[in-house]
């Protein structure tokens, strides 16, 4: 990697702005992993590959909601951003079936609402 100079920061910033793609974000800090976030992440990766979905899967740190770990935030165009909590294997499948493929939110699993659409 070339050493950055002052203008490069802005370039990186511009290159990483929201590209409008849908994404799934899994909280992967100690508490999340302890509650099983690593398995949830792996299952998402596997299923997305299997179903050939056009969606990004990302890792992030702690959202601060330890009581609802593992937590997964989902953005799908046309639907509000939501954070699902206490996601297990079945939860992953539900999120994929309903939210990502079916364009409906998964009821009873939403722990926080983000705005956007």
């Amino acid at each position: 990697m070339i050493k950055l100079t002052k203008n490069d920061l802005d370039k990186i910033k511009a290159a990483h702005q929201d590209d409008g793609r849908d994404w799934i974000k899994v909280g992967m800090s100690t508490c999340g992993i302890a509650a099983g976030a690593d398995k949830v992440y792996a299952l998402f990766v596997e299923e997305i590959k299997k179903r050939k979905l056009d969606i990004q899967i990302k890792k992030c740190g702690c959202q601060g909601m330890c009581y609802s770990e593992p937590s997964v935030e989902v953005r799908v165009k046309g639907l509000p951003d939501v954070i699902y909590g206490k996601v297990d294997k079945e939860g992953v499948i539900k999120i994929l079936d309903k939210h990502i493929c079916g364009n409906t939110l998964v009821k009873d699993s939403i722990y926080e609402l983000r705005t956007k659409r």
């Binding site: 100690t30 508490c31 302890a34 509650a35 330890c66 009581y67």
Partner: protein, 165 residues
């Protein structure tokens, strides 16, 4: 210690010392790496380290014994870390501690006679939302009830090979 083991040890220490020798305050970092390698700090290794660093053995032991993290005894096959942080304590981890002590007939910081389990008490694993928490090796068990302890431990008792990973 066999000759071969001795050679491995000398090589390991030589490489650690050459990696860290130019950095100030390196002793603790070298001990960390040594413990990563052996699981504890064996006396022959401490002796060799003293020679290689030109540091009195007493200085090395002074540091090892001061910090809770460093161990002088080989660890048990499975390390149980029982959290006694405040959140876990409030939710009954002291009861779990007594249960484990009773079931395994082992004291805090000690290893069972068969070497299968080591019982460590730790202050906060940082999973307070899951309190009370027990960690065995790298696996974390959250919201543990006293009645579940036996079942958790027995997974490690029988088919050890499978349950490790």
């Amino acid at each position: 210690m066999t000759q071969e083991e001795n050679k491995i040890m000398l090589d390991e220490i030589a490489s650690l010392v050459s990696k860290w020798k130019d950095k100030e305050g390196n002793l603790i970092m070298i001990l960390h790496e040594l413990q990563n390698f052996y699981g504890y700090v064996p006396r022959p290794a401490a002796l060799e380290l003293s020679r290689a660093l030109h540091t009195p053995l007493a200085r090395i032991y002074e540091v090892i014994t001061f910090y809770n993290f460093f161990k002088l005894e080989p660890p048990g096959k499975h390390i149980i870390s029982l959290c006694l942080g405040t959140a876990c304590y409030l939710k009954g981890s002291a009861i779990l501690l007594n249960e484990i002590k009773g079931l395994l007939n082992v004291e805090e910081g000690a290893t069972t006679k068969d070497g299968l389990f080591q019982l460590d008490v730790v202050r906060c694993l940082g999973c307070c939302g899951l309190a009370p928490v027990i960690k065995i090796d790298d696996k974390v068990y959250g919201k543990v009830q006293k009645s579940e302890v036996m079942g958790i431990l027995s997974q490690y008792n029988n088919h050890q090979e499978e349950s490790v990973k």
